[in-house]
Symmetry: C2
Subunit: 352 residues, 2 copies
Amino acid sequence: MILEALRYPIIQAPMAGGPSTLALALAVTNAGAMGFLATGYGRAETTRQEIRELRSNTDRPFGVNVFIPAADHFDEQAVDVYLQTLDSEARRYGVEVGEPRNEEDEWSSFFAVLVDERPPAVSFTFGCPAAQEIAELQAHGISVWVTVIDPAEAVFAHAAGVNALIVQGVEAGGHRGGFEDRLDGEDLALLPLLRLTAKACDLPLIAAGGIADGPGLAAVLSAGAAAAQIGTAFMLADEAATHPAHREALATSAATGLTRAFSGRQARGIVNRFQVDHADAPRAYPQIHYATSPLRAQARKLGDSDGFNLWAGQAHSLAKARPAAEIVEGIAAGAAAALEDATARVVGKGDG
Amino acid sequence: MILEALRYPIIQAPMAGGPSTLALALAVTNAGAMGFLATGYGRAETTRQEIRELRSNTDRPFGVNVFIPAADHFDEQAVDVYLQTLDSEARRYGVEVGEPRNEEDEWSSFFAVLVDERPPAVSFTFGCPAAQEIAELQAHGISVWVTVIDPAEAVFAHAAGVNALIVQGVEAGGHRGGFEDRLDGEDLALLPLLRLTAKACDLPLIAAGGIADGPGLAAVLSAGAAAAQIGTAFMLADEAATHPAHREALATSAATGLTRAFSGRQARGIVNRFQVDHADAPRAYPQIHYATSPLRAQARKLGDSDGFNLWAGQAHSLAKARPAAEIVEGIAAGAAAALEDATARVVGKGDG
């Protein structure tokens, strides 16, 4: 099992749409943790090149994250109404609202690249591949991981044959990675989610959400996770391509909130003007992602942190600007110290 | 410091409105953890008798929880509208809707009882006493704890001079215990909340929310907590007075959600008909608590779990029906084992 072979039980979260870079994945991997490529909105052939480049620069295990094509029902009329509310944003930024298209379904090309290039691990977001696809990837030596946000999804993915689960709590930054963007349903926080999932199935669990320092890592390992997937804490890494205005916001103690304003799918970001002004955005992913794309691009260009998505987990103010390898080593050393302290608190207290 | 004198770093959460009993507090205390009296809707003289009875039965430390009188602004018109929607409930249960009163302000009588009876610890919910009051309680040998749900409240309570903080994550069952019932604001989950609070002030932190087994306790200790406050996991204890229909619901994997339907203040319960039908309940505590009181009492009498509040934390399905002492010992033993496993995962892995 890959997870057991890592020096540190730390997985760098794939952060599509900016922060994730090949340099970040490489630095994390070479530091003894596990880097990930975020293919989110990329194309299959780009992914092929990135896997090759990463492999030629390290002999340690790394991973590739792939989005499962969206299948959620959406209300076309609600999207039309929402697009009209974006007109004022278009005027503000002097660009046109984007076409609310669905991306071309590149699933088959992505799948072919994975089978050809055989990255050590592939994690899936927004769904679970079919059992046959999972088996085919595994037959090519790939460890298959699926992101879940509740125990029912975990049981489903377990039955489909995955090797491990990424268990994402509601405190996580960026998109909620479960199978569907539910309009209701319980927003499970990481700690209860880990315990409920461990009770429901016995796969290795990779904990994600709000883990940004050593005690955070120690906590999820104590709660039964085999490793932690850490995103926001790497956003200030030297090797990340996080926008300067986004970096500035991360360093504050600004509140985060869940929103569909930018992509049409629930995601957690630092609350800014756009998020507040479009609190009523409907569920329509990736249509709204493409509709807001030119607005976000222009806001980024202007350095206007009130106009684009500032994805961040709830613990973002703990992130530190330093090389990725130092982030890995700092978190691992902090975890060991935290476990020692905690152990002293429960063991050998005598008859107090 | 009381916390360091406990055999197990476990605090039994005060659970007003039913589950908490003197027998539960006593059993937990005598098992080497710390029992708590829930005075929530009680009267000062009852509390005096309970403190005396508890003290006469144990020489170990215990605590008393006191609600700070409500000060949140509420919208009278919204309350009137809500009361009208309760008419159908009144017809369903064949009782009258209660008077939406505020409770008599018993703060001064409660305070006098605390100073007279000097329980080892007092925890406050829904606010922070004045610095002078805190100092007076401490001068009488009482350890003063305040419940917080964000780092700003923690900093405020620290400045007021409290001895420890109960840090409550959004996954907790029952009422959100922060200073005010905010209509917006970030719903911090326990793990990031603990880390952000530890960064903001150096008081001992008692973690609350979603902790129901040994690995859960191990996790919060690893995240820097001095102890865990555990509620839902004690609701199935033999010594708890949890309603049979409530016990049944806790043993399922039913979803929980936040609601103001029962009390006018945000609280987490297992989603039932009443909670769904009154999803739009306004903020008006304790007015709505008193308005729904006869409805809830009648639903309890009928054993109708769709008509009263089924307070529960997100991890409720992990609760086990057994004597409280066994719950304490099971959680403590599980925590020690979980810490050992976690330590093996970060220490001495060599150059993997």
